[in-house]
């Protein structure tokens, strides 16, 4: 529809409010309380505009643009004198108590309040009286609290309580002394609390880990990056100064994470700066272990050219690195560095998603689903942002339903909340143990993986009668299946979520059956399979055998050399298996970024780049390939991307040292021709020689300071800025100054918009996709196929609890699980200790109480003993062991093990 803003015509999508409309056409209008992900409440009175009756009306009336919907042929004015004065007045009021402590404030330079103050033109303080002050609270190791800076926009509590579902942050008191905080000092409980630092328009909530090495936004070298800490693949901005990673910021991607990140992703970056980093080439068992590159090449020459080489890939290394390893060792000698079980589960996920019978759902699609079923995956802990998306689905469905009956647009947040009250959209959680998601669920049921899959098969049987043998389901199960199945049938966009962490392929198969049955005409069904690591999907797509098969290929005295790529095998596999393999190999070459149990066994250790020092591509659980770009210059160190090391080794092997510099895009091109499943991957980003009008995209903002001083204490001669030929981004502040293509946005900034709110200038519309489409290439294409093609019919037997054999399952933790994120001290403090977790009934059967020690053994493997923790709301017959955190070792998850009390 057409509206007139300051006598100019604009085409606007209907259903928006005036503020969104103004922002979407690129106009500047100040606001505070409105947030694109949270809607309008009209609390701050900052976005006032004048609306006119018709073209002849000269008087007009002031309205809050966020509270008024667009109408065809509407006349409004942003520039009107009264409206401008009103906005200036409002900000003057807001600023009466603001401490003006910008020089010491962490938000300074990236502050929405600064931007808006300048935008409205308020520049002189007339309020001469004492400012009100508050006592700040300790909110835990992640978020810093500075209440004096507050301007009462209510965004924090709306985000924390309504959006993220936390309940320990609230607003207290009244009048001009309202207080946003906790009831008393304490750690914020929500694992999404880090977003407060971006949601808050000023510096009340700031990133506490950044305080350790504070840098202004304008001084950071920034790159588009992808989160490494789970399989969801949220888009991030990695920021560097003085050769150190300083912080992780959210990078908007309308299809994936939107405006938010989880705390593991936001704060789990400190491993990059860790003292435990491998920074030098180490050749063990000789006089000087640290070596130069020439020495290394001499040493490697016989190893790579003479003997048989076995490559062990990694689910946390980039596609490029895994592929370079495959090129080096040959396809027949390349193995996934994960257990047979996990590889099988990943394979099942890929098979069902590639079948074309269901659509692999993105986070955005989960957020927009009107019914969600979670089967056998604790997404709150294994894929936190997916849990947040599910929460939005549940809340938004209720809101959308409520708004259908009355004429209230969905963005009118408080009215919709009032209308919906306690109503919720449909969510069923079938899981092994309880999670905070259960509170939202219409159905929450806890059972062993086998029983969960039986329940899911029962639902599939209800949805497609006659396809499954339904006679051995109990009446309770059938009734439950009917209730869930009926709700799913009502939905237009249902999403089924499952994953590998219950180590049971029947769970995935049953979830697929449900999704396939629902995927009928007029209903778009999505399916999401959560995996364990950031590139689990990419590695699985390469279709290599699991680690266990690598053992068989090494003959005794076969003189084999193992090349292990960025993988602590002891975390993914049982110790005996790994020891057995490593003992068989003559030489062990390990590429990794941090010292761990596997690097200890290496005879040659190569310093691999982390995501911050290298370029690469990761594939998330949706099958979306996403590129990350280097941000820390590595000119003075030996640290290199693994694919570069492997390329050098390949040159050695083929004895073709022709000085050819390899670029990641060439590797992807080769990959596309060699492996058809990666078709389209080259379009994840243009080649390394891409420029815009001959200019590259600068990683540094144009206000970047200290260019001639920053390295001066090391070298006064000012060497040339670091240059890596890998990408179209440059390590300088010179280059293309406009809005870069969406896959290469190193930071969000627009004239007058220094804060993260400037993302609106990079989008087609607020909350929409980035200009030119959201980045990432979907590798799993929807194919039009008949549902009948793939349907699993083998329903497993009911789980039988035995007293001597217990089902061993991993228990992940939202902040604590993550090999790399565990290096962040703040997250380490917040993650749980190692426990063997059992249900009260199981504890009774084992005759143990909380705190007792339990001995875990599995067919000869002694896992040691762990203290017992008793957890209500989990099923009997299962023992959980905390997994994924830094100190844990690989176990035979999903098998039955022996438990014995240690006296």
């Amino acid at each position: 529809m057409v509206i007139h803003i300051d006598n100019k015509e604009y085409n606007i999508k209907s259903g928006k409010n005036l503020l969104e409309a103004c922002l979407s056409v690129g106009l500047d209008l100040p606001y505070f309380c409105w947030h694109p992900a949270m809607g309008s409440v009209g609390a701050c009175r900052q976005c006032a505009v004048k609306v006119y009756k018709d073209e002849n009306d000269t008087k007009g009336r002031l309205v809050m643009s966020c509270m008024e919907g667009v109408k065809d042929g509407l006349y409004l004015s942003i520039e009107d004198k009264t409206a401008k004065e009103f906005r200036e007045q409002v900000i003057e009021w807001l600023m009466t108590n603001h401490p003006h402590d910008c020089p010491v404030c962490d938000e300074g330079g990236a502050c929405h309040l600064q931007d808006m103050t300048v935008m409205t033109g308020h520049d002189y303080r007339r309020f001469k009286y004492k400012k009100r002050t508050y006592t700040n609270q300790y909110l835990g190791p992640l978020i810093h609290h500075e209440m004096n800076r507050c301007i009462q926009c209510y965004r924090c509590v709306r985000y924390y309580r309504d959006y993220a579902g936390g309940d320990d942050l609230n607003v207290f008191a009244a009048h001009n002394h309202v207080y946003f905080g906790r009831e008393k000092d304490g750690v914020l409980q929500s694992p999404f609390s880090g977003n407060l630092s971006e949601v808050c328009p000023t510096g009340v909530f700031t990133d506490k880990t950044l305080k350790e090495h504070y840098t202004r936004k304008w001084d950071l070298t920034m790159s588009p990056s992808v989160c490494n800490h789970c399989s969801v693949g949220c888009n991030t901005i990695a920021a560097e100064r003085y050769g150190e990673l300083r912080c992780i910021l959210n990078r908007y991607n309308g299809d994936v994470n939107g405006y938010f990140l989880c705390d593991r992703g936001r704060f789990g970056y400190e491993f990059v700066n860790s003292e435990n980093r491998i920074k030098r080439v180490i050749i063990r068992n000789r006089a000087g272990e640290a070596s130069t590159e020439e020495e290394l090449m001499q040493h490697l020459q016989p190893l790579v050219s003479m003997s048989k080489i076995i490559g062990i890939g990694s689910p946390r290394a980039s596609l490029e690195s895994n592929f370079a390893l495959m090129q080096l060792v040959g396809k027949q000698n390349f193995y996934q560095g994960i257990s047979e079980d996990e590889a099988h589960l990943n394979r099942v996920c890929i098979d069902v998603l590639q079948s074309g019978s269901v659509h692999s759902a993105s986070l955005k699609e989960i957020e927009q689903a009107d019914a969600v079923l979670v089967v056998g995956e604790d997404i709150w802990n294994t894929a936190p942002m997916m849990a947040l998306a599910v929460r939005q689905a549940v809340v938004k469905t209720a809101g959308a339903e409520a708004s259908q009956h009355v004429q209230i647009p969905v963005w009118l947040d408080s009215a919709i909340k009032e209308l919906a009250q306690e109503d919720k959209g449909f969510l069923a959680v079938l899981n092994v143990s309880a999670s905070p998601l259960d509170e939202l669920a219409t159905h929450a049921w806890h059972a062993t993986p086998d029983d969960l899959s039986r329940a899911a098969f029962a639902i599939a049987a209800y949805l497609q009668p006659g396809k499954l043998q339904a006679d051995n389901f109990s009446e309770e199960l059938t009734n439950q299946a009917k209730a869930i199945g009926e709700a799913l049938k009502q939905a237009k966009n249902p999403v089924i979520i499952t994953g590998v962490s219950s180590y049971n392929d029947n769970v995935i198969k049953a979830a697929f059956d449900i999704a396939a049955s629902l995927n009928t005409a007029g209903r778009k069904t999505g399916m999401a399979c959560v995996m364990t690591e950031c590139n689990s999907m990419g590695l699985a797509l390469m279709d290599a055998p699991a680690f266990n098969h690598a053992m068989d290929s090494v003959r005794p005295n076969g003189h084999a050399t193992a090349v292990i790529l960025e993988n602590d095998l002891y975390r993914h596999l049982t110790p005996n298996l790994v020891d057995n393999f490593l003992n068989k190999c003559d030489h062990i070459i390990v590429l990794d970024s941090l010292h761990n149990s596997t690097t200890e066994k290496a005879s040659v250790l190569l310093p691999a780049a982390t995501f911050a020092e290298g370029d690469g591509t990761l594939v998330n659980n949706e099958g979306r390939a996403q590129r990350f770009f280097q941000v820390i210059p590595n000119a003075d160190t030996q640290v290199k991307e693994s694919w570069q090391w492997l390329w050098k080794m390949q040159m050695l092997r083929s004895q073709k040292v022709n000085g050819h510099v390899l670029h990641p895009d060439e590797l992807l091109q080769k990959m596309e021709t060699d492996m058809p499943q990666f078709k389209g991957i080259t379009s994840v980003s243009p080649g390394h020689d891409y420029t815009i009008h001959g200019e590259r995209i600068p990683r540094e903002p144009h206000r970047y300071s200290g260019r001639t001083a920053i390295q001066a204490n090391k070298n006064v001669s000012e060497p040339k800025p670091f240059y890596d030929g890998d990408s179209p981004l440059s390590f300088t502040m010179e280059g293309f100054k406009g809005v870069p293509p969406s896959w290469a946005v190193p930071f969000f900034w627009a004239p007058g918009w220094n804060s993260v709110q400037s993302v609106a200038k990079y989008q087609d519309e607020p909350n929409g996709s980035l200009k030119g489409g959201n980045p990432g290439v979907r590798l799993l294409q929807d194919k039009k196929k008949e549902n009948a093609d793939l349907f699993f019919k083998d329903v497993p037997e009911q789980f039988v609890i035995t007293k001597d054999k217990w089902l061993l399952l991993p228990k992940f933790h939202v902040l604590g699980s993550g090999e790399l994120s565990g290096y962040t001290k703040a997250l380490e403090v917040l993650s749980p200790e190692l426990f063997a977790i059992i249900s009260p009934k199981s504890a009774e059967a084992l005759n143990v109480k909380e705190g007792d020690m339990l001995q875990l053994t599995d067919a000869g493997i002694a896992y040691g003993s762990l203290p017992v923790k008793v957890l209500d709301n989990m099923c009997d017959g299962v023992v959980f062991v905390n997994a994924g955190s830094r100190g844990t070792v690989g176990m035979n998850w999903g098998t039955r093990i022996n438990l014995a009390k240690v006296n």
Partner: protein, 192 residues
């Protein structure tokens, strides 16, 4: 067509016009007897020379004496302290971002409890460096500073044999403590 471009040296001399009207044509007549005696000319010259004995000397005896500075003179930078001797700089970075030579860099740190006598506000510069080789002494850092923490003093940048001696850190820039070293402080502060 008349051209303004000279074709040879003679032509260029002819075309050259004097910039002022004070130019005197050189007297090229042959010298007479009095001229050839040289004495009048010598005496004339000597009278100018000796005349200076009675005039005020335009030079001063540097370094014993120093010249009066203009109030806007911009010399070496000083990182200021407040009257209690606490560092004023909060490492906000505005001087660095204002610097046209990009010669200032700093790292901020949080003040710990018990350090209130060292730093005026809750943040301070753990590291503060100016590349004096790059600095153009424009004074924009002083202008940008919201905390009155950096100003350009009346001191010249000294000479040095090594380039790296011109990377000034906090120990070179920070003014002496007015409480513990009042004399040095007064000297460093100058007339500001």
């Amino acid at each position: 067509m008349q051209t303004l471009i000279p074709h040879n040296a003679d032509e260029s001399r002819r075309m050259m016009q004097s910039l002022t009207n004070r130019a005197k044509p050189v007297d090229r007549r042959p010298m007479n007897f009095v001229d050839r005696l040289y004495l009048p000319a010598v005496l004339k010259g000597m009278s100018i020379t000796f005349g200076h004995i009675f005039k005020k000397p335009p030079t001063i005896k540097y370094p014993e004496q120093t010249r009066e500075f203009s109030p806007v003179f911009r010399g070496l930078h000083v990182l200021n302290r407040d009257e209690e001797g606490r560092e004023r700089c909060t490492a906000c970075g505005l001087c660095a971002v204002a610097c046209p030579a990009e010669a200032i860099t700093m790292e901020a740190a949080e003040r710990e409890p018990g350090e209130e006598n060292l730093y005026r506000e809750e943040k301070y510069a753990a590291r503060y460096e100016i590349n004096m080789l790059r600095c153009i002494f424009c004074g924009l850092c002083e202008e940008a500073c919201p905390k009155d923490a950096i100003y350009l003093s009346e001191t010249f940048a000294p000479s040095n044999f090594a380039r790296k001696g011109f990377i000034y850190g906090k120990k070179d820039l920070l003014i002496p403590n007015p409480v513990t070293q009042p004399e040095e402080y007064a000297k460093a502060k100058g007339k500001r």
